[in-house]
Amino acid sequence: MNLDISLSPEILFNIFGIPISNAFFWSWVVTLFLLVGAFLIKRNLKMHPGKFQNIIEMLVGGAFDFVESMMGDKKRALRVFPLVFTMFFFIFFCNLLTFIPGQAAVTIKTAGGVVPLFRAIISDYSIVFVMTMVSVIVTQIVAVASMGPLRYVGKFFNFTSPLNFFLGLMDLVGELAKVMSLSFRLFGNIFAGEVLGAVMLFLFPFFLPLPFALLGLLTAVVQPFVFSVLTLVFISMAIQPEEAEA
């Protein structure tokens, strides 16, 4: 038994020359699962809720109230809510998928050799990167829309004084650093958790991985929350830059 740790997801097969990795494959599975769930929810919504609908309502309603309290405005909250809540929900379910037991044991023989069938979806950097880019680009769009293009550019290239010019450049660096900090926080946490779990399983497969699995469960809940709330904070700061700076 050897311990294989790969930073990149393993390629399962190719479709039209596009390599489909295990993480990508499972991300589609999770997406499909959520889509079907959404249709079922839509079809079974009742004015007098059952237990399941109660839970869904509590989740969605509570999340919306939270977003509304952050945005301070119902109309704005309605605009950002789908984005941030989908981020949270999708990442959360991707993380939950890793807790189906026995995954590490399943491998598949491909053209590139024997690779594991399962991989934590969020430990594939590309999906994290896509969501991060969505978050950062939406933030920039919101900033341009609320400040106007001139003031938006003026925020980064301020020639009123050397200090302001320097601070403007720092802001620009900060915006770019958001991509790194946001994406690697999520990716790093999940990937590290996976590696840790694999190592513990490798060292001693009984009892030892359990506390790390529990720790991973905590991460699985907290990291999506952090990711989506940070996106929310970025967007709300882009809407009210003066208030946020004050």
């Binding site: 990149s8 309502e57 969605v60 309603g61 984005l83 590309s126 896509v130 969505v134």
Partner: protein
């Protein structure tokens, strides 16, 4: 470039992931969040409506109670007024009747009195007539039997003496 390769990033995969995520977001928004939020809002407004309705109903009930109480008070007052009026009218009528009765009694008594008086007079007159006849008769008889000269003379004397 080495990092990108190590992380397994592929432009086509990124696009596919973006599409994946956008689709998920749209569908979830359309079919999960929106209906759930709508139903929450609907329920909230329904509850609010129910509460305000209940409040209005309570207000109406109170109003109705006040109204009925007022009606009762009015009715009682009216009844009391009616009773009083009837009483005073009855009293008035009673007085009238009593007065009339007294009057009638007075008239009747007067009539009776007159009748009695007339009867008395007629009886008296009759009595007088009968008495004088009786006296005359008895006198005649007395005179026929017992009167002699002496006695005649004595009685005449006595009468004369009495007269004088």
């Amino acid at each position: 470039m080495g990092l990108i390769k190590a992380l397994g990033i592929d432009g086509r995969i990124l696009l596919a992931q973006l599409f994946n995520f956008a689709l998920l977001m749209l569908i979830l928004w359309r079919y999960a969040y929106k209906p759930v939020l709508n139903i929450l809002e609907e329920r909230r407004s329904k509850i609010e409506q129910g509460l305000s309705d209940a409040e209005a109903a309570a207000e109406k009930l109170k109003q109705a109670e006040d109204d009925s109480r007022q009606v009762m008070i009015d009715a009682r007052k009216e009844a009391a007024q009616l009773l009083e009026k009837a009483q005073s009218q009855a009293e008035l009528r009673q007085q009238e009747i009593a007065r009339k009765a007294q009057e009638d009694i007075g008239i009747m008594m007067e009539k009776e009195r007159e009748k009695i008086k007339a009867e008395k007079e007629s009886v008296l007159a009759e009595l007088k007539g009968e008495l004088s006849d009786l006296v005359l008769l008895s006198l005649k008889r007395f005179l026929q039997e017992n009167v002699d000269d002496k006695r005649d003379k004595e009685s005449i004397d006595r009468i004369v003496k009495d007269l004088i």
